[in-house]
Symmetry: C2
Subunit: 220 residues, 2 copies
């Protein structure tokens, strides 16, 4: 069955790979599944056809036969559950990997999103300088805790899993800020993720999409 995901026609991060479709592409590449991409503009994302797929008007979505789902975490869990390579087989190890998937998205990403959102949308606000240290502290607390747990392990819990895929994707959001430089354990962990061939294929695919999308936008 053909897999179709949605992504930005022209990603606002200009092909840095931070839009969430990169996470899904990476998972699909890890398990060796081909996929096609339907591109959406900021306008078509909010139209009825896409809202029927994702009521919150976001990318990515995932369609495969009669199944149509949204939410990156759920899409990656679905891929991981149905194809070998992204979750351990043993029941308790699998449950721990799912725990780390939720930890990436619910405990580590929220302060990082607040931090990167401030940098993008509130840089010109009068409170930017005064409020930012509080937000940076929240990020630093999570990085310290994650770094302490990871220690000298290669991945979060045994072999590479969907949890590492998500955690590394979440940490990649910090790259433009340089904030990972103070956490060498995490910087090395992220680099191990980026070095995976599946990540590189996913990154190149979204970058090529951005190149094509920006050319189309320039020509229109």
């Amino acid at each position: 069955m053909t897999i179709t995901i949605t992504a930005f026609e022209c990603s606002p991060d200009r092909g840095q790979g931070l839009a969430r479709d990169t996470r899904v592409r990476w998972a699909l590449e890890e398990v060796g599944l081909p996929y096609q991409v339907r591109h959406l503009t900021f306008q078509t994302m909010k139209e009825a056809a896409h809202l029927a797929l994702n009521p919150f008007g976001q990318i990515p979505t995932f369609e495969e036969g009669e199944l149509a789902i949204f939410e990156t975490g759920a899409i990656i869990f679905h891929i991981a559950q149905n194809h070998a390579g992204l979750l351990p087989d043993e029941a308790n190890a699998r449950t721990r990997a799912v725990t780390w998937m939720f930890a990436a998205l619910n405990t580590v990403e929220p302060p990082i999103l607040e931090f990167s959102g401030m940098r993008i949308f509130e840089r010109d606000k009068p409170w930017y300088q005064d409020r930012m240290p509080m937000i940076e502290d929240r990020v630093r607390t999570r990085l310290d805790q994650l770094s302490a747990r990871l220690g000298d392990a290669e991945w979060l819990d045994g072999p590479f899993s969907a949890a590492d895929l998500l955690m590394i994707s979440v940490l990649l959001r910090l790259k433009p800020s340089g904030m990972l430089n103070n956490h060498p354990v995490l910087a090395a962990y992220v680099a191990r993720g980026e070095a995976r061939p599946a990540y590189q294929r996913a990154f190149e695919a979204q970058l090529e999409d951005w190149r094509m999308g920006s050319q189309r936008a320039a020509a229109s």
Copy 2:
């Protein structure tokens, strides 16, 4: 096997049921599993014994035999996957329910947490009045979208599931602000959740724990 969860010795919400152990208690009550609670203070939450269970020093955690996990979403998914009553049996319906679990925690809760965090921690900041409308707008957008999707359905997708349990728990955070009053579809949805006997048992249990904890704190 005995199930042990962790919760606050004396919840900072004074028994309003907004601490995340309530979500786990609710899931356990829905499937009829007994559990015991180990109470933690703000100090013991940050000590090595608890950090071994949850590296981010938060509650709740979940222990059952050799399995020890954290993250509310993962705990509830584990309970739902192993006991009837919280996830549909049919594969695609189950995947859609998991989608809504992630949607509750990753798309709907983040702006609500930012909103309630501002109300608690930044009320005295000079930027509070100017920044709040932006945060309220983000919450309102999500509520509008969720309300439009829910429409006159009883639950998110077919019978009550772990997704409803999480979505209603997330929306309950808005109750103190009165913000749900402008979304009658969602207010009624939350009320249906609160009316479930399993929710009421979970709420009473955490309230009783808070009463006991605050008495101990007063006596010491």
